[in-house]
Amino acid sequence: MEVEAAKLIGAGIAAIPLAGAGVGLGLIFGNFLAGAFRNPSAAAANQQTMLLAFALTEFTGLLGFVIAMIILYAF
């Protein structure tokens, strides 16, 4: 296989972590909302933890993006 073609396929494969990040973000916000509707008075205190979890989860998806960029541009 040509190197150029292999690079493009590799970059495409590196986008798969987006699926996991999507599921994870859905779980975080979904569960936060479920909890917030049950006990709205406790929601504000947990917002910080939710945003932190959001950032940590998002990072997994972004790592995939970084790998795709490295495959495409660094080699």
Partner: protein
């Protein structure tokens, strides 16, 4: 006109906006220390911060005016963050966390400004935080402070961070390496998170903007469809507006958590 715009888009890919270009060429002892567009936009960001806080604190009143209110809200916000995460020891880290938060916030927002049409390439708006060297340097400063403060405050007990008390002895060989690796990956994840968020956001913005030009350039029915990527780019811009603030907040809060680890390592 659209044709010319189309051609210029073809010339500039989505990665072109991250190019570092020298504005004033300087060399010092064989080193290239040119004043670049990255340096220019960092200077603009810092200049805006200094100007704002100078204006806000020039005439301090008991009942704050509008500018002073904004400065007080920002101050209060970061002070609460530091107090809640680090606790009593956190007060001495407030200046650092505040500086970090404001710098990243302003650098992110300054990068979202549209460029002046027709300006030379090196004067286009530039997001300094979209370069890993900037974000990684900020992350390394944080980790260096954590290490120095951790060892200075706890001595060798700082190493208890890697071996939480109450851990069964047979778990140690498994858990301690994991804890060490997770500690070592902190500067990487801290730096890469901000950098990748900014990079990805700006690439997507540029791609959507490119679709608008490409569809307009195609003419006929296709140019009517250009409204779809245009609305898309507006939506992405709104998202980026949120992300810019959120990433500054996340960077500050993670810094606080790491500092709190260093402050309370011996108590584990």
């Amino acid at each position: 006109m659209i044709d010319a715009a189309f051609r210029s888009f073809q010339a500039a890919g989505p990665m072109e906006q991250f190019e570092i270009l020298p504005i004033v060429e300087l060399t010092f002892g064989g080193l290239d220390i040119s004043f670049t567009n990255s340096a220019l936009w960092m200077t603009i960001g810092v200049g805006l911060i200094v100007a704002f806080f100078y204006a806000a604190t020039r005439r301090r009143t008991l009942i704050p005016g509008r500018t002073q209110s904004i400065a007080e809200i920002l101050h209060e916000f970061v002070a609460n963050l530091v107090r809640d995460t680090i606790g009593h020891d956190g007060k001495k880290f407030f200046p650092y966390v505040f500086t970090l938060f404001i710098f990243i916030l302003v650098a992110n927002y300054v990068g979202l400004l549209p460029s002046i049409p027709g300006a030379p390439h090196e004067l286009h708006t530039f997001t300094t935080t979209s370069h890993i060297i900037v974000t990684f340097a900020l992350a390394m400063v944080t980790i260096t402070i954590v290490l120095i403060y951790g060892f200075a405050k706890n001595g060798l007990k700082f190493l208890k961070l890697f071996a939480p008390s109450g851990l069964p002895i047979w778990l140690m060989p498994i858990l301690v390496p994991i804890e060490i690796i997770s500690f070592l990956s902190r500067p990487i994840s801290l730096g890469v998170r901000l950098f990748a968020n900014m990079l990805a956001g700006h690439i997507i913005l540029k791609l959507f903007a490119g679709f608008v030009i490409a569809l307009l350039g195609a003419g006929g029915f296709a140019s009517v469809l250009a409204i779809a990527p245009f609305l898309g780019s507006v939506a992405i811009f709104l998202l980026e507006f949120l992300v810019a603030a959120l990433q500054a907040y996340v960077f500050a809060i993670l810094t606080c958590i790491y500092l709190s680890d260093a402050a309370h390592a011996a108590e584990h």
